[in-house]
Amino acid sequence: MISVKGLYHSYSKDDKYAVKNVSFEIPKGEIFGFLGPSGAGKSTTQGILTGLLSLQKGDVSVAGYDIKQIKQEMFNKIGMSFEQSNVYSKLTALENLKFYSRLFDVPTRDPKELIELVGLRGKENIRVGEFSKGMKHRLTFARSMINNPEMWFLDEPTTGLDPAIAANIKDIIREQNNKGITVFLTTHNMYIADELCDRVAFIIDGEIKLIDSPKNLKLRYGKRIVDVEYIDGSAKKKGSFSTVEQKDRDALASILHSKEILTMHTKEATLEEIFIKVTGRGLGVSEAS
């Protein structure tokens, strides 16, 4: 569904790349998570894939269309929920969706049904200018489904939503995916990524560090992490050690050998911990939900 080979992008058109040598493939029907700290190049990559940013270097095809020369009709097949909501504040929710649906050449979904789907029932005829941030975000999300896209781009679909609504959005994404829709999901929310994604890519400073399924990542890093609390001199210290990596094994061995151990147990690593482990960096933003 998506194929990216050797993608580079520089906003200043020099060698300061926001995205460097990015390559990946997304087969049809997959939910692909794109994870990385702020400024990593997630939105830039998504911008190129959707044609909002021009392709500078690399080979990219989306839904069977070469991005080098985008054909208008490609947009009938893709949907995009924007990180920052972008709906007309002077139109009502219903008018917004009706207007947008008329811009497509393919059968579109019933605007009312979509509004209800994202929990905005009863708000159809209110002008969006009076909506809260979260409500606008949900409407933007609903709009991205209007043309029954085969390829669905979601940039932070759950940001700023309360946990119950975020869970509702998550269910919608899964439901759509069950119908065979391919999803490119950008998020900071590791729980959602963990639950939804078939595979995730870790991206840092414009480069992809790793692509794998959450399940494989956990097999590799999960359960084999040992949390140790110990006394070092007079201070109480904590540490997490992989039982696979030689460096960690040596460090753990030396602690076991010479320090007084308070507690010690193995545990399942979260995706966030794996991310930190792999990239040496945190995700910066993490959500409560």
């Binding site: 959707t50 044609g51 909002l52 208008q72 009709e73 490609m74 947009f75 009938n76 893709i78 995009m80 924007f82 920052q84 972008n86 709906v87 007309y88 504040s89 002077k90 139109l91 008018e95 207007f99 947008y100 008329r102 811009l103 497509f104 050449d105 709009r143 043309n147």
Partner: protein
């Protein structure tokens, strides 16, 4: 493509009627038109009304009827009392040596002169076939000040619709909706054309309404619309550029005000400068619009002359549009 242009057009019109600022911009010309009517006498008021004695001279009655609105009364006394009423009505009555003109004294001079002239026409046996002069004379009954004010109003209308385009673009930018449009199978050209259609329709409809309000029923409205359409193209080009370059509504509208400077300059140039100096304004589409409108409103000039002016305006405006289009398209990314 066409139905998408229509969709974009409908949305813009809807939004324009919902907001105070666009509504104000759209209503301003109509208020100005009413204002012009209040401060200058209307053209139809100056159509001369004449009172005659019924059956006194049927040949005279028939002749005058060709040039003016004739009312007949049973006798001299009735004519006298009718003339005394408030409106401008002139009596032409038989006297000792020929006819005499009966007026109240507060009628516009032109009306009295016109009545006298009509009487002379009759007495010297002139009728409408051999009197080209009477048509010119009739044209002169449009007060020149009114013609000038209406003409200036007609120049302003396209500029105001350019402002509406600016407001619509600033709105799209504030809501960040252009990126959503770009992710639909709607080309940037369709987007620009949809918005342009809004500006064009509002400009042309307002022009017609203003013409009707100010009472120019008999002019060639199609020609006026042609001139308006050409300058609307320019106004919208400026409107798009201003919208792209500004993020704030007030700022954007404020910078559109600058356009009124060449507009005023062109009008002043045409009205005040002698023939040779007029060439200094040949670059200005406002100058040509004003000149063309002047002829149309006054029902003067030949078709060829008008066509030439309209062609000049269209050439200037379409060149500007073509030069700016790539910048507009890029700006909407």
């Amino acid at each position: 493509m066409l139905n998408k242009i229509w969709t974009i057009f409908k949305r813009d019109v809807k939004v324009n009627f919902r907001e105070v600022m666009p509504l104000y911009i759209m209503l301003a010309p109509l208020m100005l038109a009413i204002g012009i009517n209040l401060i200058t006498p209307g053209i139809n008021d100056t159509t001369v009304n004449i009172a005659l004695i019924e059956g006194e001279n049927p040949a005279q009655e028939q002749c005058l009827n060709e040039f003016a609105h004739v009312e007949t009364f049973p006798g001299e006394a009735e004519v006298l009392s009718r003339v005394k009423e408030r409106d401008s009505l002139i009596g032409i009555l038989p006297g000792d040596n020929g006819y005499y003109i009966l007026a109240q004294g507060n009628e516009p001079e032109s009306v009295v002169e016109y009545a006298k002239l009509l009487n002379v026409f009759f007495e010297s046996g002139v009728d409408i076939e051999n009197s080209k002069a009477s048509i010119v004379e009739f044209g002169e009954t449009v007060p020149p000040v009114k013609k000038m004010l209406v003409n200036i109003l007609l120049l302003m209308i396209p500029m105001l619709s350019g402002m509406l385009i600016t407001l619509n673009i600033v709105e799209e930018k504030a809501d960040k909706t252009i990126s959503a449009i770009n992710l639909s199978p709607t080309s940037r050209t369709a987007f620009i054309l949809g918005k342009s259609l809004t500006g064009m329709m509002i400009s042309l409809v307002t022009t017609v309404v203003c013409i009707l309000i100010t009472g120019f029923y008999n002019v060639n409205i199609l020609l006026l619309l042609l001139v308006a359409a050409a300058s609307t193209v320019l106004a919208m080009t400026i409107g798009f550029i201003q919208g792209i370059n500004n993020d704030d509504v007030m700022e954007a509208v404020g910078s559109m005000k600058l356009v009124f400077l060449p507009l005023a300059g062109s009008v002043a140039g045409y009205e005040l400068l002698s023939g040779g100096w007029q060439a200094f304004f040949w670059w200005s589409p406002f100058y040509w619009s004003y000149r063309a409108n002047n002829i149309i409103l006054g029902k003067e000039g030949s078709a060829g002359e008008l066509l030439l002016y309209t062609a000049i305006i269209a050439a200037i405006c379409i060149t500007a549009y073509a030069l700016m289009l790539p910048r507009i398209k890029k700006g909407l990314q």
